[in-house]
């Protein structure tokens, strides 16, 4: 198995542990990765708020890079994934846009043909790799650990572009947690917005939102949260001390990236997975 890895900006910035844990986990699962070092930021839905064609062009360029490699794309960020799916949808349904964008890409030597498949690590693990095979690879079962999934908006909405079977009631992360030996925690907030996109505009709102979901998870007995989107992680982990203040209690809920959780079950050391880099460190992973 080989994929064109799109890291996204955050995995190279404020959540480098996502990048390093992805690499370690992939090695351990014999998934080979060809990192697209020349791909630009997906735009995070922000570039399109200034200029839609620009956003589509930048993503089409990324798609073309992967097509040139002859590989499908692996996203490790839920937001990047959602934004790319949206760009793919716009480009594929509108031939004029496709032509316009390809004209722009031409001078850089790229052309998007609409062939590449865009996948998120979550789907790669659950579908391409397969849960049965993952089970076989587990050396340090997460038995006894109650884990709350936090999906993140971009991986489930809009539902018609989501890769998950039933985006209003997805089970992919839960299935993965179970395969790793852990126990998934069900709570209302797992499909809701983390608040990160507007933490700069409305910090209290964003952190109240996060606090609500995390409290629910905690009440249901969660030992930690796992998310396939590093932007959710950025709101739920680094801001957690401030979230605590808003909701008036100490949550102490570690927020794991998806490959970190898988890595733990594969027997990779917490430190190697970058768990020490989180603001909320947990004793359970020492």
């Amino acid at each position: 198995m080989r994929y064109a890895l799109f890291t996204g900006c955050v995995a190279k910035g404020a959540a480098r542990e996502l990048y390093s844990s992805t690499i370690k986990m992939a090695e351990s699962l014999d998934i080979s990765l060809d990192e697209m070092t020349s791909a630009a930021c997906c735009g995070a839905g922000v570039i399109s708020e200034e200029n839609e064609v620009l956003s589509d062009s930048v993503n089409a360029r990324t798609f073309a890079i992967a097509e040139d490699k002859g590989l499908d794309i692996m996203n490790i960020c839920g937001t990047c994934h959602g934004v790319m799916k949206k760009a793919e949808h716009s480009l594929k349904k509108d031939n004029n846009l496709m032509d316009e964008v390809n004209k722009v890409l031409k001078s850089g030597g790229y052309r998007y043909r609409g062939r590449v498949k865009i996948k998120h690590l979550l789907n790669i693990l659950v579908e391409d790799y397969g849960l049965d095979k993952i089970k076989e690879k587990v050396t340090k079962s997460l038995r006894g650990l109650k884990i709350a999934p936090f999906y993140g908006c971009y991986i489930i909405r809009p539902s018609e572009l989501s890769d998950l079977n039933d985006p209003d009631n997805p089970t992919a992360i839960e299935d993965l947690i179970t395969a790793l030996g852990g126990e998934p925690v069900d709570y209302e907030g797992k499909l809701k917005c983390c608040g990160f996109p507007y933490v700069m505009m409305n910090k209290e709102g964003a952190l109240t939102m996060a606090g609500k979901h995390l409290s629910q998870a905690k009440e249901k007995g969660a030992d930690c949260v796992v998310t396939p989107c590093p932007l959710c992680h950025l709101n739920l982990d680094p801001y957690q001390p401030e979230i605590d203040k808003i909701i008036g209690k100490r949550l102490k809920l570690p927020i794991l990236h998806l490959p970190q959780l898988v890595g733990l079950a594969l027997g990779i050391k917490p430190k190697v997975l970058g768990l020490k880099k989180h603001i909320i460190r947990a004793k359970i992973f020492r």
Partner: protein, 313 residues
């Protein structure tokens, strides 16, 4: 099948509770058909709103298994999970009785955006004003809203901040701002760029997901953000954030997470900048801060070229 319906009559109940009704779903019955059959054959006290039963009047929105939808346009068999369906009143509004909620604040927020056309009064056309098919298309989708409040009910931003105008009002605003016949585009866009307006949406996508028409509020809000930036209404954190973000990608192909918050807050926004300090320190302590030296992607020049070519202004 079990219909688990939230009940609450403040005349006698202290708090809402769920009541289960067991019930065989008739062939091709909608959820509304089922709710009515329960009311008419099992329990006349069950209270919900309805009128047209053809998805145009907007009366019968309820929360079903946690998500808001129109009961009249939903096949009951599709929402049954393991023999059961949970029905609750809409969110973000006070309950009056059972599934009936108070729309007072909802309408007040609609009225706040001045929801009527302000044409150029100096021209008094004898017949209709002309509008091109392209211009009609800009307002067509937004104008299909039926005010059912499904989006309002599931909006995550409203859930934590009642000051937010909400997706319905903003979609309604778009219908005027992008109307070729309206003369107040600039002032309208200015008003919805303030606190509680377009930049207080997290673009979580719930509104468009729940919308039973083509109004799809998130798409309207996104297009309003584009309009605000194009009109130069950028003296707010939201618009500055977009500018800084795009500038950053235009420069190196990759987001500079160190610069973005500072530029978003605005260089003269002292309190805003101060608010960034605790998290900055916290992340630095864990070496979680983005690298100080921002490294561009490979082939950054090609990306710069694309930005130069497509970015206007």
């Amino acid at each position: 099948m079990i219909f688990s319906i939230q009940r609450f009559n403040p005349e006698k109940d202290t708090s809402p509770y769920f009541q289960d009704y067991e019930f065989e779903i008739p062939k091709s019955a909608t959820l509304l058909d089922c709710m009515n059959l329960i009311k008419w054959t099992q329990d006349g006290t069950l209270t919900h709103r309805m009128s047209c039963r053809s998805a145009i009047c907007g009366s019968c929105a309820v929360k079903v298994n946690g998500h808001t939808l129109l009961a009249c346009k939903t096949q009951a068999s599709k929402v049954i999970k393991d023999g059961k369906v949970k029905i609750e009143p809409m969110g973000n509004m006070e309950i009056i009785k059972d599934l009936v909620v108070d729309f007072g604040q909802f309408w007040e927020k609609i009225e706040r955006i001045k929801p009527w056309l302000v044409p150029d009064e100096s021209e008094k056309p004898e017949k209709e004003r002309y509008q091109s098919i392209d211009d009609f298309r800009k307002i067509d989708a937004g104008s299909t809203c039926i005010m059912c409040a499904s989006c309002y009910s599931d909006c995550c931003s409203l859930d934590v901040d009642k000051g937010f105008l909400g997706p319905t009002s903003l979609a309604k605003a778009q219908r005027f701002i992008h109307d070729s016949r309206d003369r107040e585009r600039l002032s309208r866009t200015g008003e919805i760029s303030d606190k509680g307006g377009i930049w207080d949406c997290t673009h979580c996508g719930e509104c468009s997901e729940r919308c039973p028409t083509e109004a799809k509020p998130l798409e309207r809000i996104t297009s309003l953000r584009r309009t605000a930036i194009a009109l130069g209404i950028t003296n707010n954190i939201g618009a500055r954030h977009v500018k800084a973000f795009v500038d950053s990608i235009a420069h190196s192909g990759r987001l500079n997470e160190n610069i973005l918050p500072i530029r978003s807050m605005g260089l003269f926004n002292i309190s805003g900048l101060m608010s960034l300090i605790p998290i900055g320190i916290r992340m630095m302590m864990r070496r979680k801060n983005p690298p100080i030296i921002h490294k561009p992607i490979d082939e950054a020049e090609d990306v710069r070229r694309i930005f130069r070519k497509l970015r206007k202004g």
